[in-house]
């Protein structure tokens, strides 16, 4: 295999644990367990799941914002093994856009400073060159230069998210991680930002790791989708396969729960969406079994592993029935 064929990002057996304070001792809580995936240059992968599914932990672990174990091979190098200096250098090509755009921007910096800051860190240039690049970047994300002198609190939610995106893209990274970038935006602005992300992906040949709980946006932006539940992968498939022929009962429940914006179509019955009981035993068996309408005895005994079913990779004993 030539080097060019290696994926841009390869994650192997990623595990994230948090320590909770207990009464007598600290207890470990596993947020992400055994997650592996590949992402090629220019590809886009959607991570979906409910809160607590581990999708944000994965994003943070990839950037080493939180400790994790496993391997994160980016351009062939394991990010988890790099020292501080090497890591800093690697982050030049690996950027993130956060959910809450206002919280992610330093309130004391102007738009020009915010968007130009990554250049100061990584690409020293004259002030004039920097200003030109910042202006070009703002234009690319659809902002006028009248915003250059503004502070974050003077921006609307949509504008702030565009600034966040400009700041992430100004170094022309190869991989952009987006953690729920449109979740907190108004309906009319949501579509604008989704369209912008799609344009940026095409124009800058970006690989995109897109984290969302909104299945419609993921369908619009991502070539492949990975469905997570309680830190484990339930199903991975191409967009067509996942939305056309979902295999995992959890994927089906997520799709059925999506509201149909039409008063003439009755909402699907929701018997399938159970609730996790307290004291559930997650140490073995399928983690979804407590909510699963198809669960049988075997699901409590044996943990299902990801296996090919149809066009998908599915972790379910009953996926091919």
């Amino acid at each position: 295999m030539s080097l060019a064929a290696a994926p841009l990002l390869e994650v192997r057996d990623l595990e994230v644990r948090y320590w909770e304070a207990g009464v007598w001792a600290k207890r470990a809580f596993t947020a992400v367990e055994g997650v592996s995936f590949k992402l090629g240059a220019g590809e886009s992968l959607g991570l979906v799941g409910e809160s607590g599914s581990g999708k944000t932990s994965i994003a943070r672990a990839l950037l080493r914002l939180i400790p994790s174990s496993g391997q994160v091979l980016f351009q062939g190098r394991d990010l988890l093994a790099l020292d501080a200096r090497e890591l800093r250098a690697a982050r030049e090509h690996l950027q993130i856009v956060f959910q809450d755009p206002l919280a992610a921007l330093d309130p004391r910096m102007t738009v020009a400073e915010l968007v130009g800051e990554p250049l100061l860190e990584f690409r020293p240039a004259s002030q004039r060159e920097r200003q030109e690049q910042v202006a070009r970047m703002l234009e690319l994300v659809g902002l006028g230069d009248e915003l250059l002198g503004r502070f974050p609190h003077q921006l609307s939610g949509g504008q702030a998210q565009r600034v966040g995106l400009a700041r992430a893209l100004i170094l022309r990274p190869q991989l952009l991680i987006c953690d729920e970038p449109v979740a907190s935006l108004d309906v009319s602005i949501k579509s604008q930002i989704s369209n912008l992300l799609r344009d940026m992906r095409e124009q800058l040949h970006l690989a995109l790791l897109f984290i969302a709980h909104d299945l419609a946006t993921v369908r619009f932006l991502c070539d492949r989708v990975m469905v997570l539940y309680l830190g484990q992968v339930m199903e991975t498939a191409t967009r067509t396969a996942l939305y056309g022929a979902p295999r995992h009962p959890y994927t089906r429940a997520l799709l059925a729960a999506n509201p149909v914006p039409d008063p003439d179509i009755p909402q699907a019955a929701l018997a399938a969406i159970g609730e996790m009981p307290t004291g559930a035993d997650l140490s073995r068996g399928c983690v979804y079994r407590y909510r699963c309408p198809l669960a049988v005895e075997r699901c409590a005994q044996e943990t299902p592993v990801l296996r090919p079913v149809g066009q998908s990779l599915v972790a379910c004993h009953r996926a091919d029935e």
Binding site: E50, S51, S156, G157, G158, Q159, D186, V187, S188, I189, K190, S191, Q192, S194, N195, R198, H213, D214, L215, A216, T217, R219, F220, R239, Y243, A253, L254, L255, A256, A257, N258, P259, V260, P261, D262, P263, D264, I265, P266, Q267, L270, I273, T278
Partner: protein, 334 residues
């Protein structure tokens, strides 16, 4: 017809103004609204549209800095200018609110039992035992299991969906006639959101409680509301029965909102339909139609602010384009 009983809840020219930098901003601008018995009225709008301000005003909770004008009548009784005691007697008893952020609406220091029972003890003068029985009954109604243990738990011990259901149970404690729902599903996962919506539908069938359901998500209202009011920049710009609104929007803004709803049942578009620009800044509203700067159908008359006019049965829209342009409006967006 003159003998018909007064509306359950009725607002006329309801206006809420706040002072900002030396001038007055109208968070609500002359809003007229009717709510009949057992009815569910959906209110949609983006941030700054005034939808949450509307609910606060109905409960007399706009705050001391607000200037309130117009009228709010509950079964014919005027509430604007009513004394605090009268309002306190109505709040939670006849008109109850479910807030968006369940975690900040619940007191972290008190267990759920105490919080659930508080309203019933105050309004209905129930004893501890009777109030506890009522609380248990309602927790079961909102499909929370293991009730006895839940009553002793604190808000942080529950999941988000469960907290939201506790808030709904709490609002129902005194068997109110009107539920005011402020984005009750926005902060929830889709699966939990679907459950809460289904619960609200069941409750309505069972108890007949009327509601005003405020949200930015038109999709959530489709299976819930009888009528929908669309708000923009502090005003109602369209109001119609839910089917008419979806089938024949009378305002380009409504048409745009409908177009930009994310759907899974249509082919993947090349681009998502979007409304350009951003929700208006109340401090810098244009003199004419507030939506004109973003409207694809803008023409000369829009320099003047359009009034809310009849479009059909129980259907009104504030747009200079009239009923004859219905098709044009529906197809306004690419």
């Amino acid at each position: 017809m003159s003998a018909s009983p007064p509306m359950l809840l009725q607002a006329r020219s309801l206006t809420v103004g706040y002072q900002s930098a030396g001038r007055e901003l109208l968070a609500l601008d002359a809003v007229d609204l009717d709510l009949a018995e057992h009815e569910c009225l959906g209110v949609v709008g983006e941030s700054g549209s005034g939808k949450s301000q509307l609910l606060l005003a109905l409960l007399g909770l706009s705050g001391g800095a607000a200037r309130i004008a117009g009228s709010i009548r509950y079964r014919g009784e005027e509430l604007v200018g009513a004394g605090t005691e009268r309002l306190a007697a109505l709040r939670g008893r006849r008109i109850a609110m479910v807030f968006q952020h369940a975690l900040s609406a619940l007191n972290p220091h008190l267990n759920l039992g105490t919080q659930l029972m508080e309203g019933a003890r105050y309004h209905l003068h129930l004893g501890r035992r009777a109030a506890r029985a009522r609380a248990s009954e309602l927790l079961a109604t909102v499909q929370i299991s293991d009730v006895a243990r839940r009553l002793r738990q604190y808000p942080h011990e529950l999941s988000g969906g469960m907290r939201q259901r506790v808030l709904i149970a709490m609002a129902l404690m005194c068997d109110p006639e009107v539920l005011l729902l402020d984005e009750p599903t926005t902060a929830l996962d889709v699966t939990v959101q679907a459950q809460v919506l289904q619960l609200l539908r069941t409750l309505r069938e069972r108890t007949g409680v009327a509601s005003i359901f405020v949200t930015h998500d038109l999709a959530a209202l489709a299976p819930m509301a009888d009528r929908i009011a669309v708000m923009y920049a502090g005003r109602i710009v369209e109001q119609a029965p839910v089917r008419d609104l979806y089938a024949m929007p009378g305002h380009p803004y409504t048409a745009g909102l409908l177009r930009s709803l994310p759907r899974l049942d249509t082919p993947i578009p090349e681009r998502l339909p979007a409304i350009p620009g951003q929700p208006p800044d109340l401090a810098a509203l244009p003199t004419g139609c507030a939506f004109a700067p973003r409207c694809p159908l803008v023409f000369e008359p829009c320099a003047e602010r359009p009034a809310l006019r009849e479009r059909g049965t129980a259907h009104q829209a504030a747009c200079h384009l009239d009923g004859a342009a219905a098709r044009k409006i529906r197809e306004a967006w690419p």
